[in-house]
Point group: C2
Chain length 336, copies 2
């Protein structure tokens, strides 16, 4: 094990933050002192790490010069409030909130664009992209040499856990109410989420696009280093607790060689390709796993330049906490 | 009311067949004698029509010369077995199974292509397309003059009711088992359907395409009279009892005028356009309704030649039974 590094996790009481702490332990990340931080409402509780309960403290009172590395796993407002303070104190950071501008902090997916890490200076700022962009980048990166990519079409069916514990609890509550023929009273979601699909996650801008959809487009272009790649994105809320699913259509200029595509996916890091004829599901395959599952690899019904894929990934692990830790692993040596 | 016509409904005990009988009554279709037919397993039960229980009889024993019109609302095997016999007996038919070849029986969606009915001779054979093709045709037909359509990308999230009563019962049963922490034992579906998405509905062919996906492409091209339109299609099984949802991206050669698109959708028959910023859902809007709901009308994140839409429709009504009855209404005068 490398020399231990003192670390802070901001947003430690959330689903992603708690999983991130777990993953640091699972992967033997060289953690020295671990400081768990949260907003004042969540401070005071504790999270288990290496068989000890670590008390969660208020981020507002934290002295960032105590740590060399901080994971920001809370919302964008928290990152915007504290990232500069951490940076000024000499603390490097991995942000999961999407708040930092691209020119200050590159989006990184280890399977796709480790090259952007080369020029970083400590204290660095890097971002782990949204779960959708991360999942797509893992799968599209190994195909870039095979497919002359013109357009990417994505419909992402997202798990409610991305919206936190309240959303998970509400899906369970709504489902129970409906099965017991009781009247439905939505609280977290503004309408029936159980046995239904919500076509919009978050409030759209004046043009009808949600922040998640804009992040997907912007971050995927950045990670693939294709700033003008055409991407259509629709992010949908599915009645699924954990695990995101992606229906993806790629357009190429030429006929796609499916044998080569399958071979590239088979060989690629971070991907599990399921057998032809079968398909992966969020619940049955992706949840709890570190890889992105890929299935239904096929061309168009009669269009050989079209490539269709079905992807599933654990939105909390590879989509967020795991990717952030993997990025940090690549940077450990710079922090020693 | 027009002069009554003697009618047969084949598959009368299924979800679509039973709804079709209801719709004949709701819309005051000029029904004389109503003969309800099913396979030998389902014969013997009865279905309510105009406050009377009508006994369901075996299709194998039916004399098709007794009726002028038959709705085939059972599976493709039943249509293939009995359509020729009905035709030979002088009985016209509306098929919902997708079994009849396009050169024998045109696919018809009243909002899109009534022109194909002009040349028909009694006894005619017409088809009501799959729920997906019907829904898409209703919405795309009024846009053809505005959008120079190059490519249509569809991810269809389909309700389990399209697979019949057993599928509906299994989604309820699986959900209850999971909420009660009991072990899951899938029977109808081959894996967990509750709180999950299944990327494939039915068995794929050697190229990975399912029958539903091939029907969507073939039937939509036919109804829109665009035989070489490029269409990518992915049909997914969602944990939803009733109501299909469609994430649709259209590519045009030119920038799409969203104001014109909204105006055309607002004016079109069979469509309910929801307010900008809002979106329709299967359960909250489409189920039990006769129209296709449209929302999330928007261009690409920075691509003005892209048009994105979200559609929901009642897969049993407009997707199947209602469309079939609407087609028949246009042909009544030919049968008198």
């Amino acid at each position: 094990m490398s020399q231990p590094i003192d670390i802070a996790v901001i947003g430690a009481t959330g689903i992603v933050g708690e999983t991130l702490v777990q993953i640091l332990e699972e992967r033997d990340f060289p953690v020295g002192n671990l400081h768990l931080l949260a907003s004042s409402e969540s401070a005071g509780s504790s999270v288990l790490f290496r068989n000890k309960n670590v008390r969660v403290r208020e981020v507002d009172e934290f002295d960032f010069s105590k740590v060399k590395l901080a994971f920001f796993a809370a919302g964008p407002a928290i990152t915007l409030s504290y990232a500069a303070r951490a940076h000024a104190a000499g603390c490097s950071l991995v942000d999961l909130s999407g708040a930092l501008p691209a020119d200050q902090a590159p989006q990184v997916v280890p399977e796709a664009n480790t090259d952007v890490l080369a020029g970083l200076k400590v204290p660095f700022q890097v971002c782990s992209p949204s779960p959708s962009a991360t999942t797509l980048a893992v799968v599209l990166a190994p195909l870039l040499d095979l497919v002359d990519l013109q357009y990417v079409h994505v419909t992402a069916s997202l798990a409610v856990s991305a919206q936190g514990r309240e959303a998970v609890a509400e899906l369970a509550r709504q489902t129970t109410e409906l099965l017991n023929m009781r009247p439905l009273e939505p609280t977290f979601f503004d309408r029936q989420m159980a046995f239904n699909l919500l076509a919009q996650v978050g409030t759209p801008d004046a043009h009808g696009h949600t922040l998640l959809e804009k992040r997907l487009v912007r971050e995927l272009r950045q990670v693939l280093a294709k700033p003008s790649l055409k991407i259509s994105a629709t992010c949908v809320q599915a009645p699924v607790f954990f695990g995101d699913s992606f229906s993806v259509t790629l357009q190429s200029t030429n006929a796609v060689d499916l044998e080569q595509v399958n071979a590239a996916l088979e060989d690629a890091e971070g991907i599990e390709l399921v057998e032809a004829g079968d398909y992966p599901t969020a619940v049955g395959d992706a949840v709890g796993q570190d890889v992105v599952y890929v299935g239904r690899v096929r061309s168009g019904v009669d269009e050989p330049s079209e490539l269709n894929l079905w992807l599933t990934s654990d939105n909390v692990r590879k989509g967020a906490a795991l990717n952030a830790v993997q990025v940090a692993e690549l940077l450990i040596k710079d922090l020693l």
